[in-house]
Amino acid sequence: MKFLALVARRLGATLVVLWLVASAIFLAIRAVPGDPAEAIMGGPGSQASEQALAEARAAYGLDRPVLVQYAMFLGRLAVGDFGTSYSLKRPVAEVMGEVLPPTLLLASCALLTAWLLATIGGLLAVRATALGSALGSLAEIVAAALPHFWLGSVLIMLFSTALGWLPAVDTGTPAGMLLPVLTLALPLAGFLTQLLRDSLATALGSDFVLAARARGESKTSVFFRHALRHSMLPVLSLSGWAFASLLSGAVVVEAVFARPGLGRALLSAVLARDIPMVTGIALFSAAVYMLFMTLADAIASMLGGRVHAA
């Protein structure tokens, strides 16, 4: 019951967040200088005639009073209608449907890779000497601080230009996925390893671990059977945040590796001031973030951990 209540509460919160995000976007658009009709008629610096601009305004309802526009905007969103892209002249939902799978694939692979690297890092940390531990810690901090743009470029220079092992451009082959996934996963892995190391240290120092060790269990066994399971909780509950950070990282990584996806669509949409497209992607990202927070908490709650109230 507690579990269902949690999910219900989170869903309610999600709706509120989405409404706030939608309203903030609606207001922000009006605060940005420039005529949306211009974006519809060919983008910045357009030389569209007054007549053409007026027609575009009428076609997109931009000639209505602001409150009416706001109501129409929310009404359409409520039934899942994100509108028509200004620059592509196609339904936003349709475009997002096309670019979403490659981004989800990239982000999921990166998240799994980061988890895997973090677990290995955590295991090594447990067995490490003081010096090794210090070096490991340093490596984690450095990795966590690496900007995606820089890391992606360095990986290309190293593995594509210098060594010639992997393609620089991701054209959908498994080999092409490696560098983009690593670029996204490494900084996150650094962060997650730090988190895991801290909670592992706490767990390994706790009574139940001492008791297990006293029973004669090996360090590795204790690590996997007791400490790791315990320490995964904070890592899991941060995965909602982590996934959202991967989505934003995808903007950079997709541009660097010329990979199709949501991030690249967002970048083009921002540059073209394609408001419906930006709105659609922003709302979708917010929804995904909330969904993953809820999922992570639900899993954590099932694993028996305590979940802080949202």
Binding site: P33, A255, P260
Partner: protein
């Protein structure tokens, strides 16, 4: 990043061109230097060229819609124009066979070549000219560049199967130049009847390649047009159709990734090659380089003469004299660009060059500023007059100015400081940049402009061009309002006499240059790097966009 090219208004008039029927390769190599080295290899048919563009992916593959350079680059493979430019820069017929102008200069007859067919099987007839001009003029098309290029055409009358008569609202000796640009290319009238969204994804032309499919964010797939017959016979070729089976046109926005993909052989050719990369590639000798400067205006700084301090010619000259542009081009652009002292691109035959006006002279700059009354200095060393600092706002579009050019501007900023002038560089995205110009919040600006022919001068410097379009856009960034100049530009676009046209445009250019309204920098850069296995790269359209009809792949 690409410069956004746009033609603002069609200039009037005539290139009195008794158009000769000759012309061999209308798309003649604009840069023999880049294509001769591999001339010895015999053409081989087959293979797909993988092209990597650094431009933003077009939202529509029909260059009638909007009308920017990235669209022209790709459309040059599948669409053709009525006219084009030969190796000497002369406008010559392409899909058209001949053209004639009436004595009053208001009726232009265009006769098409016989036997040309669109990719969809539709025959090229005079109806196509009518349908295309009307498509460009239809507000629903949302054409910008092409719309302005055909703005003086009042109506198109089909007089027989292959002949159409264009009635002009006023004389326009730039019309044939306008009709040589890919933004006015001829598409199948049947295909134009389809909904706009469909035509945008699969425009139908007469070119050597056709659009097979477009996977957005991945590639535009072009395949060879197996029925292609070049409008002008190409006796030296072993086959009338393109050598390449197709072109995979990809978009790789990151310059470093693009070059890495070229190095690893993932792609065969890249555009928007950056100065550092070009220099590296030249040293290694591993790649071919096509340098195809765009026509129209040279890249230049324009000084806003409508407000202080650049309403004072002394200050304008002082600012220009304080800068050593050449050393910046050497150091920051690795000599990949040739310094220009002209308003027009070096590919424009009617451009004039005035190097002496722009010789750097710091002493003179200081003297001129003293003379203009900017004699006091503030705590930071900047000149002050009536309590106001000599300060210049310089909005820079990060979409249009590549990093090397931004560095050049920063070097200018440092040089200007030496004579007590503050330059405030503002790096802006394209929308904000246009916004700053529309609000007149600039003293200095660099705004590229691509167009075929000297008529671009009217767009950029006639006082009419200070009047904003509904979006706030105007092209006369120097804010020149000089009745004498207006008159020269108007007469230049109306005359039917080629020599008089040249002389009038020369006078107009001198007037602008000598008034220090503009600091020319270099041609609009347009660099391509390609693997050594790619041969016969170098043919270009009138707007310097390469055509890969003659290109072939051979190890």
């Amino acid at each position: 990043m690409p410069s956004v090219s746009r033609a603002r208004r069609v200039l009037s008039l005539s290139i009195g061109l008794p158009v000769a029927l000759t012309l061999l390769a209308a798309c003649a190599p604009s840069n023999p230097e880049s294509s001769t080295s591999q001339a010895s290899v015999d053409p081989v048919a087959g293979g797909t060229l993988v092209y990597a563009s650094g431009d933003a992916e077009p939202t529509c593959l029909d260059p009638h819609v909007g009308g920017n350079y990235p669209q022209a680059l790709v459309a040059s493979q599948y669409l053709e124009t009525l006219f084009t430019k030969d190796a000497e820069g002369k406008i010559v017929p392409w899909l058209a066979e001949s053209t004639e102008l009436s004595d009053d200069g208001l009726h232009r007859t265009i006769t098409l070549r016989e036997g040309i067919t669109f990719h969809d099987g539709t025959k090229l007839t005079a109806e196509a000219i009518k349908a295309n001009i009307e498509h460009l003029q239809d507000p629903n098309t949302a054409s910008s560049t092409g719309y302005l290029a055909v703005g003086k055409i009042e109506k198109v009358t089909v007089t027989d199967e292959l002949t159409a008569e264009l009635t002009l609202a006023s004389k326009d000796n730039a019309l044939l130049e306008s009709l040589s640009m890919p933004w006015t290319a001829i598409e199948s009238p049947e295909a134009l009847k389809r909904p706009k969204a469909v035509n945008c994804t699969s425009p139908v032309g007469t070119g050597p390649f056709k659009v097979e499919s477009w996977q957005t964010q991945q590639a535009v797939n072009l395949v060879r047009n197996e029925n292609y017959q070049p409008p002008v016979a190409q006796p030296e070729r072993s086959q009338p159709t393109a050598y390449l089976e197709g072109i995979s046109w990809r978009f790789i926005p990151e310059a470093a990734t693009r070059y890495a993909a070229l190095q690893s052989g993932e792609v065969d050719i890249i555009d928007n090659a950056q100065p550092d990369t070009i220099a590296t590639a030249a040293t290694s000798g591993a790649f071919g380089h096509l340098d195809a400067p765009r026509p129209g205006a040279a890249n230049r700084l324009e000084l806003n003469s409508s407000k202080a301090p650049f309403d004072d010619q002394l200050v304008r000259e002082a600012f220009i004299r304080s800068l050593d542009v050449n050393s910046g081009i050497n150091a920051l652009l690795f000599n990949t660009a040739q310094r220009s002292y002209s308003l027009l691109s070096s590919v424009e035959p009617l451009g004039i060059s005035e190097p002496d006006l722009f010789t750097p002279d710091v002493q003179k700059a200081n003297a001129l500023l003293d003379e203009a009354g900017w004699t006091e200095r503030d705590a930071e060393g900047y000149r002050v007059k009536d309590g106001k600092r000599l300060s210049l706002t310089f909005p820079v579009s990060t979409n249009q100015s590549v990093p090397a050019e931004q560095s050049l501007f920063e070097q200018m900023q440092a040089s200007a400081k030496e004579v007590g002038v503050e330059v405030k560089i503002q790096l802006l995205d394209l929308s904000s940049w246009y916004g700053a110009l529309a609000e007149h919040e600039y003293n200095l600006v660099s705004a590229p402009y691509t167009k075929v022919g000297p008529s671009v001068l009217r767009i950029l410097y006639h006082s009419d061009s200070t009047v904003p379009a509904p979006s706030g856009y105007f092209a006369n960034n120097a804010q020149l309002k000089n009745p004498k100049l207006d008159e020269l530009l108007t007469r230049a676009e109306e005359t039917n006499d080629e020599a008089e046209r040249a002389e009038l445009y020369a006078q107009a250019q001198r007037l602008v240059l000598e008034g220090y309204y503009v600091l020319p920098l270099y041609d609009q850069q347009n660099h391509f790097l390609y693997g050594k296995h790619v041969h016969q790269v170098g043919d270009t359209t009138a707007v310097s966009s390469p055509v890969y009809y003659n290109t072939f792949l051979a190890k």
